[in-house]
């Protein structure tokens, strides 16, 4: 490796990027990172500059330091899944379940006032309303009703809607959702829902109402009804300090 020369990007930031790549691509969790003094010599920077870069990666959770022992690549911290924005497909894959989808209905309609408000679009603007049943592990898991603003996603209705809408939004529209607001509640299955989900009427459902945004722009408003016997949310809670 060559020494770091002064440039528009500070040395400690360039070193941080080098160490990130090293940790991620070459070393892997648990492996030792070269010591501060070795890095200082190798890159011809001061030990303080190395400590600045390493410190930043420690704060990020990528590295961890042990006094007197060394610096190591940290095991990836578990992101609390409960606040993780994922499509149904991604969620089930993570739970180790094979995914299946049946499109029940797909219609273009003018947006109602409520839908318009939730999607931040004009009333009567055209939206795609998509009903699907989602299966996991070969059995019905959920029903979804997604509403998509066609002004922002022109031609969406002509695509294959049996797969992951998130993948579709990402690949064809560069609008993969990165943030969402979600409300969780409970309902009981009516006759139609019960039939589609292969349960009895009156069985409990977990209901998720979610509005998803890509770069601040609303791209999806979806309600999902999950069989409560097959789906639950695990979350870690922490107390507020002060």
């Amino acid at each position: 490796m060559r020494p770091l020369r002064p440039g528009p990007v500070p040395k400690h930031r360039r070193l941080r990027e080098i160490l990130t790549a090293m940790a991620t691509d070459e070393l892997g969790p648990g492996a030792a990172v070269p010591s501060e003094r070795v890095l200082a010599e190798r890159f011809e920077v001061s030990r303080a500059t190395v400590r600045e870069a390493v410190g930043a990666l420690v704060n990020e959770g990528l590295l961890e330091r042990v006094h007197g022992k060394g610096t190591f690549v940290a095991a990836p911290a578990a992101v609390d899944a409960a606040l993780h924005l994922a499509s149904f497909t991604q969620d089930m894959i993570r739970r180790g379940l094979a995914v299946g989808t049946e499109v029940l209905a797909a219609e273009v309609e003018p947006a109602s006032a409520e839908r318009a408000q939730r999607l931040r679009i004009d009333v009567d603007a055209p939206v795609l309303v998509l009903w699907r049943r989602r299966d996991a592990g070969g059995q019905p898991m959920a029903i979804e009703r997604g509403v998509y603003p066609l002004g922002r996603l022109p031609g969406l209705e002509a695509h294959d809607l049996a797969g992951s809408i998130y993948d579709l939004l990402g690949q064809r529209y560069d609008a993969r959702p990165d943030r969402a607001e979600q409300v969780v509640s409970a309902e009981v299955a009516d006759n139609d829902q019960a039939r589609m989900l292969a349960i009895g009427p009156g069985e409990p459902l977990l209901v998720f109402a979610r509005t998803s945004f890509a770069r601040g722009v609303a791209v999806e408003d979806v309600v999902s009804w999950y069989r409560a016997d097959r789906y639950r949310i695990h979350m870690g809670l922490t107390a507020e300090r002060g």
Copy 2:
């Protein structure tokens, strides 16, 4: 203020505590913190030591720096309420609802195998099983069944159990929960639950199963059944990066 002398606690840590108190108690959000050079002179430490302390508070989110302008007390970042560990009382207060509690039953029993496992205690160890109805805004909101390990909380059953158990744990046992694992699911109300919650049988309930820890020790295992017409979870989701 007096200079910082060498001692068992590093200077940068003591300065960090001083600055935390200063920011929290005296200055408040938006206020300017004395400059690095002023702090270095006042506490008779090097500017690098000041930068170390300030840098830590910047990483914590308490302070923010603006190049060329100064260091300021940051506005408190919103903690996503969905992952916030709070008692029923705290939760309802935050939602602006007056709280009421009716103790339905309180009995000391030997712990079953399942309860013992969840609370990390021996089977047959004595536990307090506490049933309560929780009201919010003058109407039934939830039913709770809490299980408390009396080995860790001796005499708990003799206390007033109509108030906040979290407050009680904090004040009398120094065991205020600081972390919890929670599972959210849905059920339908049976006849007893329906009567206690003033709803019809078969109505949907949001169910929370929570094990709470104080400093790593399990102190509470509680299941709560909430009326789904009155309670829902709001949560912000973000996409995982990578």
